[in-house]
């Protein structure tokens, strides 16, 4: 115990270098833990985005690609699929419910999704939770109604009854707007912590109506224009959609339906099991995650080597200290353990500061990260794995402390009291 007190007192005497060394360790520990946090939370939030959906169907491409654009609104579809094909499978005996999805437009950087009422009824996230309205109602028969995700309503300060104009395409700055056909906010969804929060939901009829007078990718001019009221009276059944989700009557039928869709002769389509595609995504992400993890491990190693250097360089100027200690009866192993304790104290201080930095960081960035990346970082206690990492760092520090300890042990024997000044 008195050894630890001595070690701390000695550190206090060199408090500026000691502080810098501990700070370097703190930063590296913070980085390591932050990478770990973001990794686990990203996984958790991805996994909780979709639940209860047996199959997702889109144009034939890759399963990860289909999962990303249909569920996470990342990237774009390669092709659309015909409405007939959707109806063919939606009316199949094995299918309990079907949700059509039509993507491609946006509003101030948030994606717009065309769908129908079965989305509000059947879409599930997290632990089989259904979507709930915070305010208002789902869109009804009028095509120009929009239901906002919680985040869209929050960030853009929309309330029920507000009118908004959708933009064509998904660029943040869009040149072409559907300003002749404004939408009315009729509902706002409760926060889900999933990409649903960052989506504007309109009916498929609305999606069709805003593009009804478009030709060759541009809106019609002059007499060719169709007003919102005219559009209301037209047949707004879409001809194509981007993807659809299926819920089946029996899980057993999953593979049979998947096969049927993949071998459908009407058009090339791909049916994926979201759970399987998600796992495929993890295995892809795994490489990048590992790279990040290894980098942060090396940063920690750099921090520890910095500590080692600081202790080693201090050894020379502390010959006198050691000699005095020896003269008052300290044995060589006392000196050695003094140095190991010093390394341990530095690493412990660094780790504690690192943890503090991490929590300060999470607390201050929580809102921003949630709003911009849809990632919720909870202020939870370190997990067992994180404790293991921290223990590992302390162990490594002690191991490194043995290097100067060994040197001091040897020197204190050689030098004895006959110090050469």
């Amino acid at each position: 115990m008195y050894l630890l007190r001595l070690a701390l007192a000695s550190l206090a005497n060199r408090r500026f270098t000691a502080f810098l060394t501990a700070f370097a360790i703190a930063l590296s520990v913070c980085l390591l833990l932050a990478v770990e946090r973001v990794r686990t939370e990203a996984r958790a939030s991805f996994a909780s985005t979709i639940s209860g959906t047996d199959l997702i169907v889109g144009a034939r491409s890759g399963s990860v690609n289909l999962l990303l654009y249909s569920v996470f609104r990342i990237g774009n579809a390669t092709n659309n699929i015909r409405w007939d094909s959707f109806e063919h499978f939606a009316n199949s005996k094995q299918v309990k419910w079907a949700i059509p999805i039509s993507l491609g437009d946006s509003h101030r950087g948030y994606r717009v999704m065309g769908t129908n009422e079965s989305y509000f009824e059947h879409y599930q996230y997290g632990r089989q939770q259904h979507l709930e309205m915070a305010d208002g109602r789902p869109f009804a028969t009028d095509p120009f109604e929009v239901v906002l995700g919680a985040e869209v309503a929050d960030a853009l300060h929309y309330k029920l009854g507000d009118k908004l104009v959708l933009a064509h395409g998904v660029a943040t700055v869009s040149l072409v707007k559907h300003d002749d056909k404004p939408f009315t906010v009729v509902g706002i969804l409760k926060r889900t912590g999933t990409p649903v929060d960052r989506t504007l939901h309109i009916s498929l009829g609305g999606m069709e109506a805003i593009h009804i007078d478009w030709h060759n990718g541009v809106p019609a001019q002059g007499a060719g224009r169709i007003s919102a009221d005219q559009a209301r009276n037209m047949d707004l059944t879409p001809t194509a959609i981007t993807a659809f989700m299926l819920g089946l009557n029996s899980k057993i039928a999953t593979f049979a339906v998947q096969r049927e869709i993949n071998e459908f002769r009407g058009e090339p389509m791909l049916a994926i099991l979201p759970g399987v595609a998600l796992q495929e995504l993890w295995s892809l992400m795994g490489t990048a995650e590992k790279a990040l993890f290894v980098i942060s491990l090396f940063v920690v190693l750099t921090g520890l080597i910095g500590m080692l250097t600081a202790i080693l360089t201090s050894l020379n100027e502390r010959r006198r200290e050691m000699a005095i200690l020896r003269s008052v009866g300290a044995r060589p192993w006392h000196i050695a353990s003094l140095l190991v304790l010093e390394a341990f104290a530095l690493a412990l201080g660094g780790s504690v500061c690192g943890l503090a930095l991490l929590y300060i960081g999470i607390a201050s960035a929580q809102g921003y990260v949630q709003a911009n990346y849809g990632l919720y970082l909870p202020l939870s206690l370190p997990s067992t794995y994180e404790w293991t990492l921290l223990t590992g760092i302390l162990g490594a520090a002690v191991l490194m402390g043995t290097v100067p300890a060994w040197r001091a042990y040897r020197q204190s024997l050689a030098d004895g009291l006959s110090i050469r000044l």
Binding site: V38, A42, D54, R60, N65, L68, F72, I74, G75, S250, K251, I252, A253, T254, F255, N262, E263, R265, P268, L273, P274, G275, V276, A277, Q279, E280, L284, M285, T287, A288, Y373, G374, L375
Partner: protein, 192 residues
């Protein structure tokens, strides 16, 4: 996070290209064909209530070591033995005794067994001989008295019986979750 994800496909592009090169997916004039990769088999398993269904799709190469119609006695013998093994699903998929699964339907099909190729309806008769690739499909359905006991799919026996199989792409559906995995002989079991 999103940006990172967006960048991923590019980072992994070399991998994808390398992988795609391995798959020799032949273009036919009609319909579309599934991938046919020697050494890789696909297994789908669905469990709901008391019903358990397993579906195995594998290139014949993995099972019998050839894909041409059997003409010699040795080939015919190999085929017969393989079919026999494939028709013993309890052993093949190491189904636990305690789960009490009884097969209600099992079927093993392949052009090599003289079955009609149901993938390509448009094929003219006698086309099978010109087929470059043959697949073997196994379809098994069970009724289990204690499905809860069954919580691990062990494919050790499958790899042992057909050593030319190097990877099995497994898709699993249970009432609780969907899972996907690439199972290899070094790690032949999946818990679910």
């Amino acid at each position: 996070m999103r940006r990172l994800l967006l960048a991923l496909p590019f980072a992994l592009l070399p991998l994808a290209v390398a992988f795609a090169a391995d798959e020799h997916d032949h273009d036919h004039e009609h319909g579309s064909l599934g991938a046919h990769v020697h050494g890789v088999a696909r297994l789908d398993m669905a469990l709901d209530g008391r019903t358990l269904e397993l579906e195995l799709d594998t290139p014949a190469m993995n099972i019998v070591g050839f894909e041409h119609p059997a003409t010699t006695d040795a080939d015919k013998m190999t085929l017969a033995l393989a079919k026999e093994t494939l028709l013993k699903p309890h052993a093949l998929f190491s189904l636990p005794e305690a789960a009490g699964c009884t097969a209600t339907r099992q079927r093993v099909e392949s052009t090599l067994f003289g079955d009609k190729d149901d993938d390509d309806h448009d094929h003219a008769d006698g086309d099978a001989a010109e087929h470059e690739h043959s697949e073997i499909h196994g379809h098994y359905q069970f009724t289990c008295s204690a499905p809860n006991v069954f919580n691990k799919l062990d494919l050790t026996q499958l790899f042992k019986s057909f050593p030319a199989t190097q990877t099995i792409q497994v898709q699993l559906v249970t009432p609780k979750r969907q899972m996907g995995a690439e199972v290899r002989p070094s790690n032949p079991a999946i818990k679910f």
